[in-house]
């Protein structure tokens, strides 16, 4: 296997051939993959959420399944179903689309909570149980879910406890005019992501994940991370602080970011940069500070403020 830094860079470059002008989003997507996390993309339609997920899957030599979530989607449509086989005189499990390395759950908030929870269970357990039978999921396994914050009509918003399962929540945002121009100019085909060639194998990804685990985090940095988490629990601006699972997520993400940036150790900057992305969807903004459509951005702003108030270890 190549130098990890080089491998990771080439993945990023590959995705960047399709997703223009979003280096941070691409980097964070890779971080999420290496931290064994799941990604929630939340933005208005048409900014490239699906394309990002698609091009990541294409860059890895992995199986990729896409599930379009609708209100009438059933859990068995995701997990699979047992069918009676007449020749064998037995039930046979037909695997659903969840048995893939990268699963794109498009518009996850459009389906019923029952279906949502079946997916989320699979995400956290990395295995599924059907008819007293346990089936492990493929490794690496990553769910990239998208949701549309603008259109809440007829949706089932994910509860905070379930949002917690996602390692990070990203917003892509509109591209800059010149980047958008590039997108228009080089769009001969309908799906540019289809043209991408895989860069690494599934085994490579597993190796990289193992390397991310070995990244060194100094004790003072752990303290720094925990003091940020503490601050979210103590501030009046938030009614619900970050759970220990959130702290764990930030820790893991920071390690993966360090690997992506080519280091063998974490820096305070990693934590600073990741905190809004990893923590903002795990907190609840206090009612006094407005709970509305903009609460997501509000939470990000509050986390930013908290990060800017905690001194960095020297």
């Amino acid at each position: 296997m190549m130098n990890p830094t080089e491998t990771i860079r080439s993945i990023q470059r590959n995705i960047a051939r399709v997703i223009k002008g979003k280096p941070v989003a691409i980097e964070m997507t890779v971080v999420c993959l290496l931290a064994r996390g799941h990604l929630l993309l939340e933005d208005v339609p048409g900014v490239g959420k699906t394309t990002l997920a698609h091009s990541l899957a294409r860059s890895l030599d992995c199986s990729f399944k896409r599930i379009q979530f609708t209100s009438d989607l059933l859990p068995s449509d995701i997990i699979g179903v047992s069918i009676f086989n007449r020749q064998k005189q037995a039930f046979e499990f037909m695997r659903g689309p969840i048995f893939a390395n990268i699963v794109l759950a498009d518009e996850i908030n459009r389906t019923t909570p029952k279906t949502q929870s079946s997916l989320l269970e699979a995400m956290s357990e990395a295995q599924i149980s059907v008819d007293n039978q346990t089936y492990p999921l493929a490794q690496p396994f990553m769910v990239i879910a998208t949701q549309n914050p603008a259109e809440y009509h007829g949706t089932f918003p994910l509860p905070e406890s379930q949002l917690d399962r996602f390692l990070m929540k990203l917003r892509l945002g509109y591209p800059m005019p010149e980047e958008e121009k590039k997108v228009l100019e080089r769009a001969p085909s309908l799906h540019p992501a289809e043209e991408l060639q895989p860069i690494v194998t599934a085994q490579d990804v597993l190796d990289l994940q193992a390397q991310a685990d070995k990244i060194f985090v100094d004790e003072s940095l752990t303290d720094y991370l925990l003091s940020i988490v503490q601050a979210t629990r103590q501030t009046e601006l938030l009614s619900l602080g970050v759970s220990p699972r959130g702290a764990l997520a930030l820790h893991r993400a920071a390690k993966a970011l360090a690997l992506v940036r080519g280091r063998t150790y974490c820096l305070p900057d990693d934590i600073r940069e990741l905190a809004p992305i990893v923590l903002s969807h795990r907190v609840m903004v206090a009612r006094t500070h407005g709970l509305g459509l903009q609460s997501v951005e509000q939470a990000e702003r509050i986390i930013h403020g908290i990060v800017d108030s905690v001194p960095v270890p020297v």
Binding site: T5, F216, D218, S220, L221, R261, G262, R263, T264, Y265, C266, L267, P268, D269, R272, V307, D308, S309, V310, P311, V312, V314
Partner: protein, 740 residues
């Protein structure tokens, strides 16, 4: 081949060459030779095989094992030196053991430099047992040494580039593609070595030995014009040169302190005939060559030498003579023997020594002389009949015409004297009491300068005094002659020798006494022109030191005196043997309980032993300290230690804090809540010049502070240097200029 690998190979080769030279030059124990040879071969194979980065190269021995070995080796050395009683060979053996240990513990560049230092010492040790084959080894050593140093410089240059920041800094890719050793580089290094060797040979070996002094700086090296040392001397000839401070010679007195009353007469030529205006040598002028008894030794025939008479009667002077326009060889009266690398030596009737021709280069010789002594017999009145031989009287009582007034004066002055010695004393006292010493005389053509001095002006200098005394004695019938030479008064404290300058030229009188023979008398009163250069004491001290250095240079380099070198080597040998014996004595004194405490205390007060013990203790302490430092270093230096030590982190954190402090004084503040990389970005925005330096420091700080591997000492040094450079920058503040 990468540069650092080539450097390693060259270093091992360098050590190998010096080792071979040492093996061929001295007899070393076989096992040691075998061991060292094996270690060298092993290191050589390792150096050829390894291509990785220098800092990652793992040593064969761990630091602890290495220290234990060094300690063992040191005790072995102590035992060895005590058993053999010779410090030098034991030291060489210890050096080899050290080298073997070092060869197994080559970690970073500094270790290779240690290896170089050891090899230099080995070359020096090999030189002590020099032989012809030493020459090619010196050649090879020089060649490889130049290569190694060139490669060292190149690798060092590569290290000073900013450490590749591996993605930490945006846009910075791995920059330090290590340089390669190419054939042109080797060729350049080879030519360089050859040129160095050739130049050295030319400058230090060939040119000074030609002894031509062709292109010497004028005023310093040109032949000094002297006066008073040729066939005839006009009265008043010495006057003009008495102002000239140029150095004519330097005189050492081997085995003797500074002469009594601090002066030393250096006799040049004696004159017997005075024609009223000038002195000439009529009868004594004939020169004959002295036969060399042994090569380089010229002794007056027929004299009883030191081997027959008590050596206290003789004085030795080692004279370093600058190029003069006279072939006279100077020495204290009366010279009997001269030894030195001289082509031939001649002597005249007056006992003066000459070279066949004036030397154009500085020469060195040793003169043995027998100072005149007044025998008690001459203090008693002697019958006139047995006094002097007729022919003798004819030569040495010659007086010029028209000297009646002088004869009258002489009789008046010496009317109470009964012996020639008393007459001479009376005249000397009269002259030195009633006449004034002055160099400021009008240069005038006088018909009778002596009468002018004695009766009209009553002022003059040494020549006038000496001439007056000689002529007055002669009118009384006492044989006397005039001698020119130098009176050395300036003593160099640092080198313990007399400095004789042109202005020390002097003339005095030799009187012949019936029993004692020629004795020296000086009628010239003490002049107070002793302070030659003038100036403060500091200046005088400085002048003495530089003069001593010049003498040393002349002796050791230009003259290349073999005797000096042998003396040095012998001194070292004897010194080491003495030290070894003393150590042994004192050690055995410690181990065997002494008969009484009193003796122990007395023994401790024995100065040399105490100094020696102090020296041994100091060496041991220094050694232990060195070991401790090494141990500490090895703790910090280990690359793979988990977590890193606290000290190391604090050091680099302190360095980073210093940078932040400095930058805040320059107007760039770091809020406590920003991370190091974020702050680096701020620096890039606000002070572009400082950015590369700050980037390196930040990178090293991050690695040292938050990383799981500590910095190597080299990296720490780089960070420190960068900080120094950063503090040297001046920041141009945009907009507000007055803010500092």
């Amino acid at each position: 081949m990468p540069l650092d690998q080539a450097f390693r190979i060259m270093s091992v080769l360098l050590t190998g060459v010096s080792f071979l030279a040492l093996v061929l030059g001295t007899d070393l124990p076989g096992w040691l030779v075998f061991l060292t040879g094996m270690a060298l071969l092993f290191s050589f194979a390792r150096a050829i095989g390894s291509t990785g980065r220098r800092s990652i190269q793992q040593p064969v021995l761990s630091a602890t094992a290495c220290n234990v070995l060094v300690l063992t080796g040191f005790f072995g050395f102590l035992m060895d030196s005590l058993a053999s009683g010779e410090l030098l060979p034991a030291g060489v053996r210890f050096l080899l053991v050290l080298m073997v240990i070092k060869l197994f513990n080559l970690r970073r560049t500094g270790d290779y430099l240690h290896l170089h230092a050891i090899s230099v010492v080995m070359m020096v040790a090999a030189a002590l047992g020099a032989d012809l084959w030493y020459f090619p080894f010196v050649l090879a050593y020089l060649l490889i040494g130049v290569w190694a140093l060139v490669l060292f410089g190149l690798t060092k240059q590569g290290e000073d580039l900013p450490v590749p920041a591996s993605g930490l800094l945006p846009g910075q890719e791995t920059t330090s593609a290590p340089g390669k050793v190419t054939f042109p580089l080797l060729r350049v290094a080879g030519w360089l070595a050859a040129a160095v060797f050739g130049l050295t040979l030319l400058l230090f070996y060939a040119l000074p030995r030609l002894q031509t002094g062709l292109y010497q700086k004028s005023g310093q090296g040109t032949v000094i014009r002297t006066a008073g040392f040729s066939g005839s001397v006009d009265l008043g000839a010495l006057g003009p040169i008495k102002q000239d401070p140029r150095i004519v010679m330097r005189v050492e007195l081997p085995g003797r302190a500074r002469g009594e009353n601090g002066w030393l007469y250096l006799r040049g030529i004696a004159f017997d005939h005075y024609d009223g205006r000038s002195w000439v040598n009529q009868q004594m002028g004939r020169q004959r060559a002295i036969h060399q008894t042994t090569p380089g030794i010229f002794a007056l025939p027929g004299r009883r030498g030191e081997d027959q008479l008590s050596p206290e009667l003789f004085h030795q002077q080692r004279v370093f003579l600058e190029p003069l326009d006279t072939p006279v060889l100077f020495g204290a009266p009366f010279m009997e023997k001269i030894s030195g690398k001289l082509p031939a030596v001649q002597v005249d009737g007056g006992g003066s020594f000459y070279l066949p021709f004036p030397s154009a280069a500085p020469i060195e010789y040793v003169a043995v002389s027998r100072p005149p002594v007044v025998l008690p017999a001459d203090l008693r009145p002697v019958p006139t009949a047995v006094r002097y031989h007729d022919a003798f009287l004819r030569y040495f009582t010659q007086v010029p015409p028209q000297s009646d007034r002088i004869a009258d004066l002489a009789r008046t002055v010496a009317q109470h004297a009964r012996t020639p010695f008393e007459q001479a004393m009376a005249i000397r006292d009269h002259l030195s009491r009633h006449y004034r010493y002055s160099l400021e005389l009008p240069v005038s053509e006088q018909a009778h300068p002596l009468e002018e001095f004695l009766f009209n002006r009553k002022t003059g200098y040494c020549e006038h005094y000496a001439t007056a005394m000689t002529i007055m004695l002669r009118t009384l019938g006492v044989p006397a002659r005039l001698v020119t030479g130098f009176l050395a008064t300036e003593w160099n404290e640092y080198g313990s020798y007399y400095v004789v300058r042109q202005q020390d030229a002097h003339a005095w009188v030799e009187v012949y006494l019936p029993y004692s023979g020629w004795i020296t008398m000086d009628p010239t009163p003490l002049s107070n022109n002793g302070g030659t250069g003038g100036g403060t004491r500091v200046w005088a001290g400085w002048r003495d030191i530089t003069d001593y250095l010049r003498l040393w240079w002349n002796r050791v380099v230009i003259q290349y005196s073999a005797a000096d070198q042998i003396t040095i080597v012998r001194g070292v040998q004897i010194g080491s043997a003495t030290v070894g014996r003393k150590v042994w004595d004192s050690m055995s004194g410690w181990f065997n309980p002494p008969p009484s405490w009193r003796e122990t205390i007395v023994g401790l007060y024995d100065r040399s032993t105490a100094i020696l013990a102090a020296g041994v203790i100091a060496v041991l302490t220094g050694f232990c300290r060195l070991l401790w430092l090494r141990w500490k270093q090895s703790r910090y230096g280990s690359v793979f230690s988990k977590g890193g030590t606290q000290d190391e982190r604090q050091a680099v954190t302190k360095l980073y804090s210093d940078m932040i402090l400095y930058l805040s004084s320059k107007g760039i503040q770091k809020p406590v809540t920003t991370g190091p990389l974020q702050f680096l970005d701020t620096i890039r925005m606000q002070w572009t010049d400082a950015f590369p330096l700050a980037a390196t420091i930040t990178e090293l700080y991050c690695r040292g502070r938050f990383g799981n591997a500590t910095l190597t000492s080299d990296e720490y040094t780089i960070a420190k240097n960068k900080l120094c450079q950063l503090m040297g920058l001046t920041r141009e503040q945009r907009g507000e200029m007055g803010l500092d």
